[in-house]
Symmetry: D2
Subunit: 345 residues, 4 copies
Amino acid sequence: MIRWNNDYNRGAHPAILQAMAETNGNSYPGYGLDEWCERASAEIKKYLNNDHAEIHFMLSGTQVNYTVIAAALRPYQGVISASTGHINVHETGAVENTGHRIHAVPGKDGKLTAEKIAAEAEKYRSSDIQEHITQPKMVFLSFPSEYGTIYSRQELQDIRNVCDTYGLYLYIDGARMGYGLGSDTCDVTLADIAGFADAFYIGGTKCGALFGEAVVLLHEDLKDHFRSYIKQNGAMLAKGWLLGLQFHTLFKDGLYFEITRHASQAAMKIRAAFEARQIPFYFESSTNQQFVILTDSQMEQIGKNHIFEYEQKLDSGQHVVRFCTSWSTRDEDVDVLVSDIQGLP
Amino acid sequence: MIRWNNDYNRGAHPAILQAMAETNGNSYPGYGLDEWCERASAEIKKYLNNDHAEIHFMLSGTQVNYTVIAAALRPYQGVISASTGHINVHETGAVENTGHRIHAVPGKDGKLTAEKIAAEAEKYRSSDIQEHITQPKMVFLSFPSEYGTIYSRQELQDIRNVCDTYGLYLYIDGARMGYGLGSDTCDVTLADIAGFADAFYIGGTKCGALFGEAVVLLHEDLKDHFRSYIKQNGAMLAKGWLLGLQFHTLFKDGLYFEITRHASQAAMKIRAAFEARQIPFYFESSTNQQFVILTDSQMEQIGKNHIFEYEQKLDSGQHVVRFCTSWSTRDEDVDVLVSDIQGLP
Amino acid sequence: MIRWNNDYNRGAHPAILQAMAETNGNSYPGYGLDEWCERASAEIKKYLNNDHAEIHFMLSGTQVNYTVIAAALRPYQGVISASTGHINVHETGAVENTGHRIHAVPGKDGKLTAEKIAAEAEKYRSSDIQEHITQPKMVFLSFPSEYGTIYSRQELQDIRNVCDTYGLYLYIDGARMGYGLGSDTCDVTLADIAGFADAFYIGGTKCGALFGEAVVLLHEDLKDHFRSYIKQNGAMLAKGWLLGLQFHTLFKDGLYFEITRHASQAAMKIRAAFEARQIPFYFESSTNQQFVILTDSQMEQIGKNHIFEYEQKLDSGQHVVRFCTSWSTRDEDVDVLVSDIQGLP
Amino acid sequence: MIRWNNDYNRGAHPAILQAMAETNGNSYPGYGLDEWCERASAEIKKYLNNDHAEIHFMLSGTQVNYTVIAAALRPYQGVISASTGHINVHETGAVENTGHRIHAVPGKDGKLTAEKIAAEAEKYRSSDIQEHITQPKMVFLSFPSEYGTIYSRQELQDIRNVCDTYGLYLYIDGARMGYGLGSDTCDVTLADIAGFADAFYIGGTKCGALFGEAVVLLHEDLKDHFRSYIKQNGAMLAKGWLLGLQFHTLFKDGLYFEITRHASQAAMKIRAAFEARQIPFYFESSTNQQFVILTDSQMEQIGKNHIFEYEQKLDSGQHVVRFCTSWSTRDEDVDVLVSDIQGLP
């Protein structure tokens, strides 16, 4: 059985394990105040085109999301998210647990639009009973989205403009950042992301690391005492250099981009196979997640060799399922899957 | 320079890196629902003498502490801790951030006493204005304590009795559990701990793992939806098998006990050297942390080859400093330190 | 100018001020542990047909709502509300501020339906990733709703059945309870409400009192330490007897029902006048709130003598506005309004 | 039986009930946006000597305390209080419930000292692990203290200086402000308080009002969106003019100062009687609360006609009890008490 159900089902890129083995006997200062975190920050900054970025390494996406939000918002403020956004659907109310409201607005293929954001912000600005409602103060979006779709440069610019108009922070969840940047349809770079966002993170867990996310803080307000928030939220790793070491390995020679681009290309091969077989897509994704609509018999057939993620049953009786590639996807496994797709009833 | 400043300044026991390398190409289910977590639980349970224990793997001590406390307490309830307890002094108010009050009571050499716990619980029970005060509902203690001291079986039994009398949960922070159990003066086993506590954790980060803590839940109330708390508190590792794999490695053949015992013995050699040199101790510790009182010149002298942790300056002008051994302490480094102690002015 | 903009724009029924004056020189125990709270509870219980109800007096609706919710839910649990529910739109995120998620579902004319509740609860029950999502554990509804609509006995029974099926608490916000019970179309009694709900409150602020709400707890779980929650949430009035005294006055001879019925009847007169003038309603309300759709010129005309609440502008260019009657509405003012409605262009 | 157990056991000064009766038929805008709140603010400001003060009316002391603290602090910040401070002992963990740590330091007769505050603030400033500890950012003190003691102008100046040095907000709980200002030993005015504090409140509940506290915000940071905090914390009264009306009545002709001075003088008569009888005091209070140490037989004897508050049993077997006067204390009751004290065994 080959696992395509998610992009975090294998350990780490071998270069990372090797780096860990090589440094295993060394002793380091704790809590992220070590040379590897410093060097990893320096490597990442080369891609940001921003001298003032502050980089912290944390452990998991949920943790980053609610910690950034808790650090950014005052108790009467909330965060705008697509109703399908990860913070709104799959983090067990972690944001609300920090005391903040999520202003969920309808998205389009998993993406927020500048219009919806503006409408939600305007609702507050034009209210004459502001003290009775929460103030949207931050925009949360994922690049790519939960459904593998990505924002174009123009879409990000439009959203940034709305944020400027309404005084909103723009925060980008980049759990799958590499797969977005590695897509053929992507017209933004990491430097562009850093130009648009007030804060974002570069996902490691799903993109080649054993674990870890690199949080990039750009707006001055968000940098204030951020290490206190990291510690308070249980996100300060004692052996912090393990995070720095991984990101250093991924960024020093562009390995991060190479392995995620490979995954996005593998996804395109799989996508092409489904297209050739005239199997419809539930979302038009150009990244490592592909959502297809299968019949009962197709699902059964493909399930003989492959593990995928079941999403939902449609009214038609058909099924939406997800196939993910990742940095660890093997060419030979792609070939098997493509061949099995071609043989679908 | 040799680091003795803490017990988390090197990677992991080589057996752990090896296990990671061996399994790196395998794919696993996520979020701790994998075979390694299951197997690690089974290995740990062999030491617990308790068929109903439920084991979860989390990432860091602070995270475990506030998550267990948030899961256990209702909003009007608080947790009793020694005023020197880790949750009260070094977790950036993480417990208060979950909404709960810490009932800090004076400890003795870092340890809580049954008497102080009973007094605090009695204050609530006998109050005729209970609705105006928080109810202590849990006891937090560390084994060993922040100062390396350990509780005897009798002390734990006395505390357990108070907990039973007042309906308090007993929760034990075992970040350095191995070093306590590995001490020559320790008269309890892991099974004893499991017999006394309602919940505790077995520290991995400081005891041979790259990272990770094994949380053992014993009281039924504390097991309820605990995975929801883990996720909500950002503590659910996507690649959860990495935690199971590490604890499996540490517990399957008793490696955990072997390497921590070794560290405690190394600490005793260092302790003996200080004693021989008639250098006073600030706490009487039989575990891997040794707190000694040095003069200016002694501190300067020993600082030439060794990094230790500075604790505080005493009114006498002398200094309290901490030397830690760990699973990664090398015999040759101990020899250097002992020799340097012998040569102190 | 006559105010119809809300139902809390005048002091209290004269009988309440008189009771306060009569007892002003007496001294009482504090914090609600006085004879008036006891007597008021006894009077209210006569209407509940439930010997085990526990009654507490609090100060305002928002306060009651979030306090009951905070007392009822565990951190990973949330509350189902119509998206138009007061807790979801007009309480400045008070529920989220206690750490809990609101599961907002579409309502119908401001009301929740059993179907929508069941669907939301089923989503959790049937999920295979429950630890990643919040558990809906309570249903919040208002009787009458924000739009003046009321639930029929059958609708409440259906909702109760869903709550039983899924283990949900049913909590009813009764800020305008009297106006609902006083409606000609209402087929439930206070005893019925007490039979369906696990907790509810009887609004005083909008129904004749200077201020105050009577919280009725029925489910045993919700009674546990409720006074601790009241105090913790700043809702324990030092001079608690002022609340008991008011509710005693309102309930000892049925004054509460008399004055709210009068208000609902006044609203029907106003409604009839709008109907006669063929002015459309935005919601079909049989209680003290009437939402009508006016043209620009109608709004200008009626605004010469009357203050009403502006709700929203429709795409048609017309306006939704609200007229409220209350316990303090004077017959002569109703006559003026009716006459002015008849004269509308 | 005459009640001396607290200072909130009777309704309101008759002038307040009269004002309520006179305005009862009028209709007003809700939520504190009315003429009475405005007029009351204007009257209070006459005493403040500060054109920029912003005044809000809230319902109870606990509510004010935690709302101000929640509005002022970021999640990693805490508030310094005497360990005997009201927020630390009698508010059911309301401050912790907002997520903030109380830095409890030993007081002296219920009062904080500049030295203790400076020591606590310095501990943070000089720490090299700041991210592991909470930052004290606010000082909480009560004027008078829980034990009736008051701060001199010099003491307040010293505390203010420490606050300036360390960037701390100074917040003063004035639940019994009137009794402090009305004391013969008091050398500060309301304007002085407004000069020293960043925020404080003037207690109404214990000083002549039915209920209500006037919150005075002086520091710009604390004014930001304060009405949002009021609403979010359930402290926004629908009929807000009831609060304004009461404070207008108390301040327009100095009634507040007159009735509280009277109470403090009555307390001095009682104090003199205890002194004459050589009964010792547990605290040296010059305000309306008197703490005396009674024997068993004295307590029994005085308990025949008087209700007082029991505080604690001393090791000596004697008892600390509290006698409170208030704005509602009658001269004839004072005479009875004085006479009964004279007759004590």
